[in-house]
Symmetry: D2
Subunit: 288 residues, 4 copies
């Protein structure tokens, strides 16, 4: 009689590609009676490149304890000098959303979250403007208004970091936040800040992208979701998408198209991050 009470976990690994790594990992899991549910692997170059792996596995409820397995894995990991993490699928990541005045990306995320399409907790939303407060609170989520000016920027970031730590945040989504974050801030959450960029990068970097797209008469409007690094708009790309447009689109209509494609690309990126499907290596992402 099946009780279907297995414990699902995920393991992400990056290391130098060396013989025996898959064997070592799968044999380890087998020893702990883990059932491998899904496994993805990518090698940049089989003769001496990087090796990336994502495994979903089930532990039996009456078998080994997750924390015990995780601890035991340390020795496998260190023998291959792995960069790794192992986590329970049931542990929902805690996601903070930063937003400015525009609500389209914010609302897409809130809807998907409420519809159960996004397996995260959302402990807080932070904005440099007060206007989305009521909307956010109607979802039962605390909203913090932290204004930012040139003079107060350092203090504002400190205040935000304090809030993020208080709420034990795992990752941050810049849902059209429109503020450039300092190196310090980015360094506090490495590979854990996702931004949505208003174009098909690399293209139309900078201000007024839709006016430029209009002037250039583009036939496609794109958006790029990426991790934030110190180099503005140059971080690892997670997802890109496009919508078809034509000469009849005004700059305003290009902007509407842009909003729609931003929602789509950002929500895919957030879904993948929240499911531990992404490994960052250098300036690229491996999305499993």
């Amino acid at each position: 009689m099946s009780t279907n009470t297995n414990i699902r976990a995920r393991l992400l690994i990056s290391c130098l590609d060396r013989p025996g790594v898959v064997s070592a990992v799968s044999t380890f899991l087998h020893q702990y009676k883990a059932n491998i549910v899904q496994s993805d692997q990518y090698s940049t170059d089989p003769s001496g490149g990087m090796f990336f792996m994502r495994i979903e596995f089930d532990l039996f409820e009456d078998g080994y304890d997750f924390e015990e397995v995780k601890k035991a894995f340390t020795s496998v990991a260190s023998s291959f000098e792995m960069d790794w993490k192992m986590d329970l699928a049931s542990r929902r990541k805690r996601m903070a959303i930063f937003v400015s005045k525009e609500d389209h990306c914010l609302l897409e995320l809130l809807w998907k979250w409420r519809a159960g399409e996004l397996a995260v907790d959302i402990p807080l939303v932070i904005s440099n403007h007060p206007n989305l407060k009521e909307e956010v609170e109607s979802y039962g989520i605390p909203f913090y208004h932290i204004p930012v000016t040139k003079e107060t920027k350092a203090n504002a970031e400190s205040e935000a970091i304090t809030k993020l730590h208080e709420h034990d945040v795992d990752f941050i989504v810049l849902a059209r936040y429109m503020q450039i974050l300092s190196s310090d801030f980015v360094g506090t959450f490495p590979k854990r800040i996702i931004n949505i960029h208003h174009s098909f990068l690399p293209a139309f970097i900078g201000a007024n992208p839709y006016a430029k797209a209009f002037e250039r008469g583009v036939k496609l409007i794109g958006a790029t979701a990426h991790y934030v690094t110190d180099d503005l708009d140059e971080g690892p790309i997670i997802e890109q998408d496009i919508l078809r447009v034509n000469h009849r689109y005004t700059t305003e209509q290009l902007r509407v198209a842009g909003r729609n494609v931003e929602r789509i690309a950002l929500s895919r990126a957030v879904t993948w991050h929240s499911n531990d499907q992404i490994i960052v290596h250098g300036n690229k992402t491996v999305v499993f």
Copy 2:
């Protein structure tokens, strides 16, 4: 000093999902000094479903011999009751193309083959019409004209099967062949006949799909590449794609759009099949 003379091989596995299968396979490969280059895995249901796996691995030139490894794998395979195959990546599959009068799918395949985008050998093309003979022969490929009428169909299929065996064919592509193959013929090449269907299945099955699409005013034109089974148009889907159309398209223009989307979907399906990326299970495909 790198000699870069490893031997690349591929292993495809289907079996009941049981604990230890990944461990057994990867440990086996490690014993034979194989380096796993890529690995994909899919379980339909971790508690008692099916397990599918595709592994690309490299053997060292001065190490174990491929045939030796393949033979030795038999015992692993039988202990898990695997349906499996292991093949050298360098062994190009031998692909026969069946064609009628229309050349668009045929030429797409011939071009990609000549451009080195399709890693197959093409020992012959068979057609029930003579009109593409010169074109095919200009690529240095033998062309066999085997006419088909209601009365001669059984004989024509026999003749085709003889030719296919003579040329040691691995799989067959129906590049708009327009003839329904008998159960006997299909049974001779199970899961090894790829067809391109002129619509987004299941939809507009039967004759005159573009006239029907025109009358229905569809906004998208699709095509479906699938393996051929006894149930006409009901075999496992490999790939589907669409092109956007509008009310201005005449039936003829819908047909042109259809030709273009057929080329795209079929050539993707053939590429995946030739790279051993597809596992058929029941009426579905797993494409790794």
Copy 3:
């Protein structure tokens, strides 16, 4: 000194294709000092088919009155036996939304409406379930719960029609309403009810489309927005779109993909209808 106070209007025409119709219409508009801003035209068959036209034009504020122009056009229209309508662009259509329990299509429309991307008024939402009441009312829109059972269906439809008339509704969107409307109801709002269908029509008609899609192993998930006619799911198609999926998608994940593509296709169809961009002819749409 720009006054920029022109009055924008739209004219939609269907008639038999006869020489002189474009000339007659454009000369009429010129006589009334109208400036043609955009004009689209489509002929099914220049020798004796149907002719469709959509014109956007501007009247000068200090010139002819819109109602005067509209009335005067009657004589042009009758001389060509036109099916036509002329309306002010500023007159926002009054859209009713019918919904059942699922909220994704409803919320997409409400959000776009609030964001100013949808130029309609939404005087009411009707549902056969009470659960979306609070959500709808938070947008300041009246919500009517009209339960439907086999026995009460006729009464429920009557009650709905009364509400729709009271609120002077122009068109109805079935945003996953999940109820089959009677011939009487459909006949009350001909070519003015838009439905979103959970598949790439014609395909997977009927119940459990995602389970069927899963079993068939489709590689694309589609949705179709269409006008409702007496033939269930057979009305004129307005828009279709697809999302790419693969063997890893569970039935539930196919359902999520379906929800997302439904939102996209439906909101495009509603936008076009609200901007008078659609002409229905027979079982097809002309989308200008």
Copy 4:
């Protein structure tokens, strides 16, 4: 009894947007018994912007002569200071193809031409390399090998221009020609040279786009078909398209994806140009 022997013609117009232009054109055509088959129109700004129009119309065989109509239109055109052209649909444009060593774009065009999907004549192909000579000549098309070095560039262009004039060429397609044309050459064929660019412009301009795309980890590979102007890669965009890729794509596989999307975007652009569907205005195209 219909004989269906009408004469189809096309009229393209650009001018300042002024009241009465549509009326003047359609009344003119009506006077000459022309039946308007299709009409598209676009105004950049109804109060004083640019006006663009494309009309397809039929003249009756036993009615007015095309040349007569064309001549008579001059007075309408001059009264509105139109930039215009009127041409018979039956007059196939004469297209020259310039190619270097890569054949994918060339072959796509030749194939579509032979399949009747491209209504042009192809009087010659010019290449700076000899290797595609046999292929081109197998289509019955003259092939001219005009080598280009830094020193001989001016002479080579002169020779090419001579050949183009001898063959009475209407427009030129750079099907991966890989040579930068001089201002003089471009000025000889203004708005009549179509190039396919190996990226989603503006992006990855310059050499090694696929290596750059690989390093940046893009998720989409694009191509841009555009008219050639003096500003390299900055001419009016005609069409853009993309293909989805992922981290598994090697630089070589990105290149293959690039070739496929180049073929698609270029052949659409050439089809539209050959059907007189494009009006260039400033650095943008209007595609009707």
